[in-house]
């Protein structure tokens, strides 16, 4: 069966080709059907392959397919090869599955835009790149997908290219990603020149002997790769592009900037976990960055008024969670959260999209409210997602997030501080999510008559995916119930073969066996739940029962609020510190070095020669007697020379 792996990326690619070549020639629905159909097919293929993989014994769960030799130069040799193992299996399921739903949703969403052809083309291209990314069997091919998804996000963010803000956002996304890729490239170089291959096998196999554990080299590699991850997954300091990316159509935000692409960084780290395990310092960095991002993004999220921006910052913060998980070396927890997050965050975005759709493209929550009764389906699905993300027990978000919190506390790489940050963040998450819900769906209706008249529930194509996702965000977490429930964590177990196996898991098992820690875990779990509930209550208080409280609260903390509203002025700082100086420097180079110095020198030479010529010409006075004098002078000199001999 493994020879069909190539179908998974290929099918969306075919969809891309069809949509791209016959752009504008085929009808709206047809192109939509083709696009989502292709993705659906690849989802089916993925499922089949997944079960095949499951059938295999746990030790040898790996399928490979080498399509052709891509680059071959001297000792450098890279195949166009696909690799299906538990990790990538999870990823392809998420990508193609969620992707399929979002495609279906888009059919309805895009139904008013005449550029539907372009839209689906890009979407399929994106799916193709994303699947290539997760299926690649070597770093370089992974990089292909990596840049491919970057390109697609660029194209899709700038989908409405006539809006300057949109094209700006697209450009920003691409360039920031490039900065990350810069690190990724260097990381690859280091790996290649120390190991001699970029294939994951070889790297995993060679790493333990090629690098000194905890040595500078391995740390450098991990940090560089992580730079790439920060770019792609919008971590500090490169998170600035993601909020702007909300300029794109909402399904895009759902697919790319929530469910799949932004999680590529997490996937990459999980994929190379062997290397990270070898470098505790790098893990530390990852954890710190992740925790910090989670916290800051959450704080920003509390102050935003744009419904999509809130979700964007929540995404950033959730990604922070995932990195925190990776940072404390519980990669499976990271992937687990990745999956659940994919479900509910996609759902949230799609719901938001449906809201915006209903509100006729109004995104400001202050102009919403009370939508509950107009768009019930959207509301309920959205609500489920909300409680899922805020970590109400029983829903997917709870399990994944809680595992992360526990690992950040208990793992040998963990630290109580991480737990505290995660804990606080969890509270804030619940707060801003419910703030969002209340401002949007409850309370009095703040929108004007005109829009109010148009409010309507979205078509089936849009609501059905919402429901499906709602279900998933409820049950999605049950594949990874924590040990303390007395069941084996299927998810962790599934991923075990590709996870670095070193003493720390052993330690964990040791910890788990002791009842003390079990109780500790229960305690922490309870604490977080409590905090969440408090947060929800506060949100309800501020934004539903007594809005005036919120306002004068804002009055009190004006400064902070302003700071949060403006996202800590990060964009402005970057602009002032990096971009503008660069432009001025370039102008200096051009206007001064190029024009004045170099060309000036050359033209100077030319004029110099002309002046010499002018002066010499004066000697050619036309007076014969002076000629004779020159002549005689020459004779004297020559004679003189010979007399000296």
């Amino acid at each position: 069966m493994s020879e069909y792996i190539y179908l998974i990326p290929l099918l969306p690619f075919i969809g891309f080709l069809i949509n791209g070549l016959f752009i504008g020639k085929i009808s709206r629905t047809l192109s939509g059907i083709i696009a989502s159909g292709m993705v659906g097919l690849s989802f089916i293929v993925s499922l089949m392959l997944f079960f095949d993989l499951k059938a295999l014994p746990a030790d040898s769960r790996v399928m490979e397919q080498v399509l052709f030799t891509w680059i071959n130069s001297g000792s450098f040799h890279v195949n166009f090869g696909l690799l299906l193992d538990p990790l990538s299996a999870v990823m392809i399921l998420v990508v193609s599955g969620v992707g399929f739903l979002i495609h279906v949703y888009s059919i309805g969403y895009i139904s008013h835009d005449k550029c539907y052809g372009r839209f689906f083309t890009y979407m399929n291209l994106f799916t193709f790149s994303m699947l290539t990314l997760v299926l690649a069997d070597n770093f370089l091919l992974m990089f292909v997908g990596w840049e491919g998804v970057g390109l697609c996000s660029y194209l899709l963010i700038g989908f409405w290219f006539e809006k300057k803000s949109a094209s700006d956002a697209g450009k920003k996304a691409f360039i920031v990603n490039r900065i990350g890729d810069f690190g990724f490239l260097l990381g690859m170089f280091l790996i290649f020149w120390n190991i001699g291959s970029l294939n994951f096998h070889d790297v995993i196999q060679a790493a333990p002997t090629a690098f000194i554990a905890g040595g500078g080299l391995i740390t450098a590699i991990c940090i560089l790769l992580f730079v790439g991850a920060t770019g792609k997954s919008a971590q500090i300091p490169l998170f600035v592009w993601l909020p702007d990316a909300m300029e794109g159509p909402t399904p895009v935000s759902a697919l790319i900037h929530a469910a799949t692409m932004v999680t590529a960084g997490v996937y990459m780290i999980a994929r190379t976990n062997i290397l990270y395990i070898m470098s505790p310092d790098a893990l530390m960095v990852v954890a710190i960055i992740g925790a910090a991002t989670a916290f800051f993004a959450a704080t920003i999220g509390m102050a935003q008024n744009d419904i999509k921006r809130v979700l964007a910052y929540s995404t950033v913060s959730q990604l922070g969670y995932m990195f925190l998980a990776c940072g404390v070396a519980s990669f499976s927890a990271g992937i687990f959260h990745l999956m659940t997050h994919a479900f509910f965050k996609a759902l949230l975005f799609l719901g938001a999209g449906s809201v915006i759709h209903a509100m006729s493209d109004e995104q400001d929550m202050r102009k919403m409210g009370g939508l509950k009764k107009y768009i019930p389906v959207t509301y309920w699905t959205f609500f489920i997602a909300t409680i899922a993300i805020s970590g109400i027990p029983g829903l997917s978000g709870f399990f994944s997030k809680d595992e992360i919190l526990w690992k950040s506390f208990s793992s040998q790489y963990g630290h109580p501080i991480f737990w505290v940050i995660g804990f606080v963040t969890a509270g804030m998450t619940a707060f801003y999510m419910f703030r969002l819900v209340y401002m949007t769906f409850h309370g009095k209706e703040r929108m004007d008559k005109e829009t109010k008249s148009h409010i309507h529930e979205s078509p089936k194509t849009m609501t059905i995916p919402l429901m499906v996702l709602a279900v998933l965000s409820v049950v999605g977490g049950w594949v990874g119930l924590p040990h303390i429930f007395g069941v084996t964590n299927h998810f962790e177990h599934w991923l075990e073969p590709i996870m670095a196996t070193n003493n720390h898991t052993a330690v964990q098992h040791a910890l788990l066996s002791s009842g003390a820690n079990a109780s500790a875990e229960w305690g922490l779990m309870g604490a977080s739940v409590a905090l969440v509930l408090i947060a929800i209550f506060l949100a309800r208080l501020f934004y539903n029962k007594k809005p005036e409280l919120a306002t004068n609260f804002q009055q009190k903390l004006k400064g902070i609020h302003k700071l949060l509203l403006n996202k800590y002025y990060v964009d402005e700082i970057y602009g002032a510190v990096i971009i503008r100086p660069l432009v001025y420097f370039s102008l200096f180079l051009w206007k001064f070095i190029d024009v004045v110095i170099i060309d000036g020198f050359l033209n100077g030479m030319a004029t110099l020669y002309n002046d010499i010529s002018e002066t010499l010409r004066q000697g050619q006075s036309g007076k014969l007697r002076s000629y004779a004098t020159i002549f005689a002078g020459g004779v004297i000199l020559i004679l003189f020379y010979f007399l000296m001999e």
Partner: protein
């Protein structure tokens, strides 16, 4: 202090004096006459160097023919001493020119100082060398044996000179009428004149 020396000194002085007067004259006629003077003095030196025939030739050909030709031309154009002196050249250039000619003189003298094996020989009318050195027979014999080819060449040279002189000095005949260039020639003349 013998006769030779006296003759030499006198004629040398005369030759140099004539030459220098020649170049400093305003009036071409005068300078021609001074040149003739100088040439005569040189002829004396020739004779002292026992080149009797060449001395005679010098007087006959040069003073007799060439310089007369000069005189003739000057008369024909009746150039006057007064005419068209132009601005006197700057003192610097003057000094430079004097310096150059003087240096040239000095350098050439140095050559003779260096040129060994000559000072031994001392000459004069008193010491005519044996076998009538430089007599007409000798020269004639030389001219018609060894120097035959050059001798013939001189005839061609003279021919060329004559033809050239004719072409240049001949008055314009009718067939070459003024051309288009004529007009701006005229302007050129004017601008040069003033």
């Amino acid at each position: 202090m013998n006769l030779d020396l006296i003759i030499f000194v006198v004629s040398a002085i005369v030759a140099i004096f004539g030459a220098s007067m020649m170049i400093f004259q305003r009036n071409p006629i005068a300078s021609v006459l001074f040149l003739i003077l100088s040439l005569v003095a040189q002829a004396v030196l020739y004779i002292q160097l026992s080149a009797l025939f060449m001395g005679a030739m010098l007087i006959i050909v040069y003073s007799g023919a060439i310089l007369v030709l000069f005189l003739f031309v000057i008369m024909m154009l009746n150039l006057r001493a007064s005419e068209d002196l132009g601005a006197p050249s700057s003192p610097i250039s003057k000094t430079v020119k004097y310096l150059i000619s003087f240096l040239m003189f000095v350098e050439l003298v140095f050559i003779f100082k260096g040129g060994t094996g000559l000072d031994s020989a001392a000459v004069g009318i008193m010491s005519t060398p044996p076998d009538n050195f430089g007599s007409i027979e000798q020269i004639a014999e030389l001219l018609f044996t060894r120097y035959l080819y050059p001798f013939e060449l001189t005839s061609i040279l003279l021919l060329a000179a004559i033809v050239g002189a004719v072409i240049i000095a001949r008055r314009d005949s009718v067939e070459d009428a003024p051309t288009a260039t004529e007009t701006n020639e005229q302007q050129a003349i004017d601008e040069v004149q003033n």
